[in-house]
Symmetry: D2
Subunit: 256 residues, 4 copies
């Protein structure tokens, strides 16, 4: 059983730090780097890209609405064409940094409010898929299973990889329980680890209502915003390896 571990990197900006990229790069096999729209500037992007390359970690573009002050977490209503071009702009910018650093893009992951809209809204999902294909049809997109984004990628002929969010509750339709609802975010390490084990062993998750829901997942998302999060990420990695799982980058999954 092979699976990727994925995290977000490069979310500093100018003088301001965020997360512990170095710690996460010891754990994950793929990473999504901010492209200057919700975080990141050319120096921050370069640092994250070079660190990912040095660690042998696959590089993705963490694309967002243009909203630095709101960290890309605010819904924005861009024209469809405008949104498509903002995504292409970000892909190009990160690709340029990566090219100069000797790394290369393998995937795309939508951030924050753009991600939420792309999961739930078919039109936004299709804009995202169209943007990625127009830029480079060989890139893959990270999705959650049972979402509009997963369907739009399939129908648009774009490779996709399903993420599993080990610390988020799912509902019986296989979608995330919204963050504002009680119980949406899990913090107990034991519970999170047992969910990972069940996903790997049986390909399913127990929903907030107690149903067993099949979940396709090729990658597990781990967070690095807090020291506790890094510890959980390490524990997930150990648990997978102890169970005989192999942790490999997304590109190796596709190649295999």
């Amino acid at each position: 059983m092979k699976i990727d571990l994925n995290s977000d990197l490069g979310e500093a900006f100018g003088p301001w730090r965020m997360g512990d990229d170095a710690a996460m790069l010891e754990v994950v096999t793929s990473a999504n780097v901010a492209c200057g729209h919700h975080a990141g500037d050319p120096v921050v992007m370069d640092r994250a890209v070079r660190a990912a390359r040095a660690a042998g970690v696959d590089l993705g573009a963490h694309v967002s609405f243009p909203d630095l002050a709101g960290f890309g977490r605010r819904e924005m209503r861009l024209e469809p064409r405008e949104l498509e071009l903002h995504v292409i702009f970000q892909l190009g910018a990160l690709d340029g940094i990566a090219r100069a650093a000797g790394h290369r893009l393998t995937h795309v992951s939508p951030h924050g409010a753009l991600g939420n809209m792309a999961l739930a809204d078919r039109a936004t999902a299709e804009i995202l898929v169209r943007a990625v294909r127009a830029f480079d049809p060989h890139l893959a997109i990270l999705v959650l299973s049972h979402t509009e984004l997963a369907r739009a990628a399939d129908e648009g002929g774009l490779a996709s990889h399903a993420l599993f969010l080990a610390d988020r509750a799912y509902d019986r339709s296989g979608q995330l329980v919204p963050r504002r609802l009680p119980g949406a975010v899990l913090t107990g390490e034991a519970e999170i680890l047992s969910r990972v084990e069940r996903l790997l062993a049986e390909g399913c998750v127990v929903s907030a209502q107690g149903d067993i829901v099949p979940i396709a997942a090729e990658s597990i998302l781990v967070h690095g915003d807090t020291p506790g999060a890094v510890a959980i990420a390490r524990a997930i990695r150990r648990r997978i390896e102890t169970a005989g799982g192999e942790i490999v980058p997304l590109s190796a999954l596709r190649a295999g």
Copy 2:
């Protein structure tokens, strides 16, 4: 005798317009498109790139300091590495937009204060050359002859094309008379046209002091900011063609 006509495009931003791109695209054979640092946003960049492609006009990246409010005209002191990465970011962003639009970058032209510094200051010139080479060593850079940027490109092994500024006075060393000095900017159409003719026929310009100064030029820069400027640009084009000159894009000059 073959020469390129070059202009700056895509200097609108959000709701604000600047210049008459459509008029200039009827005159020029190469264009430099703003990359979002001094002007341009993804929508403006895409529009300029597609218009250039439709007109058969070569596409360059008009790179700048990150200074939208100052239109890239203010000197900024970035760290060398930071400046290099800002240039790469812009090249990548415009290249992404171009790739999605079916066009491709052929050259780079530094804008405003960055351009002035790169002409006069060797360290800045070398940063610029290094950034372009790291991104794509097959791109050319637009320079003025007798400048640090021309020398840095030569020594750095980067192809360069020399621009002639038909409406700017030159000094006896072949450099531009600074804009703040009297007589630095020429406005008389007859004088501008006779300078173009002499450049084409004899490869020289008469300096502000009356010296005859040899000037290498593969491209003539024409401005589009005002209706008068477009008329002069058209007159330059007609004069060259009447004199038997051939106006070709930069890429054809290099290929030839």
Copy 3:
């Protein structure tokens, strides 16, 4: 019969121009100046404030969502407290510029998407009223009659002045026909002028469906974005004066 003529000013940004402030200042008696969130920078704001002062024109703050690239026309979902503080920030910034220029704020007018939301959504209207009161309870707010903003101002104890939009169709409830619907924007000068006359003489407007709808209005909004708009603004002014009306600033209306 006394009425104010009102317009938006100072919508340039950095090197980019918009509208003809000088022409509008010959026509209007009150103006709303952009505060850097959708347009304007300190230099543009100062120029507009000083021109308004020299012309004896009342000064208002044209407050907006923080969205320069979208000219404040995109809906944004800020937290209530965040929106309130963004409005206060803008009021303070323009007030500072005004104080240094020897002018003073008399009113506030919400721009673009913020304005549309404040007219239709009570919660947004109340945030706006609360922000203005917290900054200076003696300021007035520009509203349209029959809207949530008018009601929120009344209930919040904030002075308000009702605007009439001479070139926009109204529905039978006295609200504007949304811009995206056919017939929402009138362009015929004769029709616009006859609507102004009827408003002044009878205090009503004929709705898009043909109903006669009472409209309270102490100010008529005129646009300056195009040469045609300035001509219509001048014609409105002449028509009012010919009909014996007196055009006075908002502050004179309140004082009177």
Copy 4:
């Protein structure tokens, strides 16, 4: 003997944190709050202003070049009038937030590259003094003694308070040793405390070359960027109080 303790606050931006404002507010009697140009947004500004008010701490405006990405540490060449208006804009914005929060501005402190230029360059110092006077002639400005800014404030008729930087080396002319030189920044707590004692007892500092240099100081600047800095700030406060000194806000010094 009475002296003020001063620190910089509110240097977060959007999702990014910086410094420990709560800890510093237990130590200082005056604070300088960022105004959105190098750090701070309306929410961050409001939080800092309210915390300062609750702690009974005097409020200053920490004005900067408009340079969020560079944290105001990069020299910029603005036109004199443009710089003046940027300062006024910031004063107005923070004053608006303060007014709504029930606090009030007492002083101004220039940040980063603007501060360095204002200390050393008379023209920049005069622009700053002019901006503060135009906004509110009753505000004071924080200076270092023996600098152009101190002289410009005196000649411009603006009240000033001299800061002492306990952790920075001074040269024999009484100016700071530039940060890039070895020994410019002191880190030993004992040395820093003994300098504070000598300043209070004898009104002088020992320069890097060993000279005794008279220093006027009404306020001691303490830093809050690191846990160690807060500990030193607390130690300075204790040492002053143990020595019988009284720590009072700037406004009390002036009133007294």
